[in-house]
């Protein structure tokens, strides 16, 4: 979302990082992954973030296998119990065990986050790369469309789209993806424009390579760094969007749940002091999103440094 604006700062800088070392193009994509692995080894915050993400994934998807609670039949007699040995995080207002609910909710939240980010990045990459490569009138048209859609704040668009499409998980993913693809498309277009004039890309055209070949085998792999950075931020933002939508009532209907929905429901009891309904889902959201932000920040910082060294 606005994290892409942070990389905008570096693009607005008057430093010329082009034209100096033309020969040093990024080699095969293998080295990009190794670069990313190195980043995690060097930067402790990023490693912590990655660890938290992995832990959350295991907690939500493998947890229910180890910690059996049933999430289908509610039991009002057990409602709103505070934490105890039988229910380590208490029970919620219809009797579900909160810890189990946290795991199930996390599955939805993480699924929606990853899937929406994937759609957003895919759409954005294709749109931006084509616009940047083709140039001319088509480029102008495509980018005007992006600018127009960007004039609409994300949440307003999400509310509108959420009201149009009925709420279910696939549609929620689609809605978030359709709103979030705008930012990666601008980033990819900028990268494409700068990559287009590199010698090795022009050499492909000289050798008779088709434009599709240039696009798929040279430009897109070299934008992977920016894309990965943006994708991490997209996941973080998607999780918060889902939480906000659930609070506003445009989330997934029960019995499906996600962290945002649980938080929203728990907040009804804020004056009753049932803290176990509020803090677990809230903290889960914050910790996960912070972890993604750490990882994204570290990736972006490291990528810029390496860009400068080129």
């Amino acid at each position: 979302m606005v994290h892409s604006a942070m990389s905008l700062i570096s693009q607005l800088r008057p430093v010329s990082n082009d034209g100096t070392s033309e020969g040093g193009e990024v080699a095969a994509s293998g080295s990009m992954w190794r670069m990313i692995a190195e980043i995690f080894l060097e930067n402790r915050l990023a490693a912590v973030g990655l660890g938290v993400i992995v832990f959350m994934l295991l907690f939500c998807f493998l947890g229910p296998l180890l910690y059996h609670t049933q999430q289908i039949y509610n039991n009002p007699y057990l409602a709103n119990r505070s934490p105890s040995l039988a229910h380590p995080l208490g029970t919620d207002q219809v009797g579900y065990d909160v810890l189990g609910r946290l795991m199930v909710g996390g599955q939805s939240s993480l699924e929606i986050g990853f899937a929406a980010a994937l759609i957003a990045v895919l759409l954005g990459v294709i749109w931006g790369a084509v616009a940047g490569l083709v140039g001319g009138f088509l480029d102008g048209l495509m980018m005007r469309i992006v600018d127009t859609l960007l004039a609409f704040p994300f949440l307003f668009a999400l509310i509108l789209l959420g009201a149009i499409f009925s709420t279910s998980i696939p549609e929620l993913i689609l809605v978030i993806g359709l709103v979030a693809w705008l930012v990666p498309s601008r980033l990819v277009r900028a990268e494409t424009l700068s990559l287009r004039v590199r010698d090795y890309v022009q050499a492909v055209a000289v050798m008779g390579g088709s434009r599709r070949r240039v696009l798929l085998r040279h430009i897109v792999p070299n934008t992977v760094g920016t894309i990965v950075v943006n994708a991490t931020f997209q996941v973080a933002d998607a999780i918060i969007f889902v939480a906000t939508l659930s609070y506003l009532g445009i989330g997934v209907p029960p019995p499906a749940t996600n962290w945002g929905g649980e938080l929203a429901q728990g907040l009804n009891y804020i004056f009753d002091g049932y803290w176990w309904l509020i803090y677990p889902p809230g903290l889960a959201i914050v910790i996960t999103v912070v972890a993604f932000n750490f990882v994204g920040d570290a990736l972006r910082d490291a990528l810029e440094v390496r860009l400068q060294r080129r």
């Binding site: 570096s10 008057p14 004039a151 906000t244 959201i285």
Partner: protein
Amino acid sequence: MIGFIVRRLAQSLIVIIGVSIVTFILLHLLPGSPIRAILGPRATPVAVHQLTVQLGLNKPLPVQYAVWVNNLIHLNLGYSYKLDQPVTALLAQRLPKTLFLVGTSLVLAVVIAVPLGVLMAVRRGKVDDYVLTGLSFVFYSMPSFWLGLLLIGLFNATLNWLPYEAPQDQVSVLSQFNGMVLPVATLTLVTVALFSRYMRSSVLEQIVQDYIRTARAKGLSNRTVLTRHVLRNALIPVITLFGLSLGGVLSGAVVVEEVFNYPGMGLLFFQSAVNGDFPVLLGVSVVVAVATAAGNLVADILYAVVDPRIRYV
């Protein structure tokens, strides 16, 4: 320079027109029909047909759009049947309230975030920076409705210092200032978290530049270097980002208005979306688009004013 401004204005105008078209089309995809909403579920087909013709809803879409634009130019945004008021009157009531909330929060956020960002950058790697950066990460990663409700829980339920609802009446909010503290605080906190990170990033980029090294070599004190050189140059890209963030802050305002029941435009938009109130949605969308486009325009122009190098783009 004038050419630059004119070109940017023209672009903004195109964007606003585009947004209105997109919103218009989207709203006609909304399920449910305004006719049924007005007449109720027991309407006879004759009455439905009459009202359709009367409201002009049987004409093709482009014609309807043209009619709407014509009305817009005469400042007639339609009539809301759900709320029983002309849309323009509704907007006139609600817009100032949102402007007050967003304006106050933005100003406070800038005033707090700029020094904070500089501090974080200057103290980079020390404990201060880690603590502040960590805090800004946390506040940025919190859903704003949770932050708002936590603040309510703390300041109202536990301490009982501040009311949990924003002032509802039409009187000036300044007379009931207590109720505005928490909404403004929530929006400001989230915005400061974001802005301070931008500022820190930008200052860090300036500090490593050669001209700063020259300034230090000349013997200028750290404070002079900071205020006279780093701050001005670091503010340049940050101004643009602040302008571009207006849309995000408006989005945040929607949530804050909902949490604190503040009768502003964001709450109006949300309630209308839930109720399927087309004219209001269209009206608010146009206003929001205009505001965002204006924010982008101001950001671009300010950037061109401050940095002469980009005037010829």
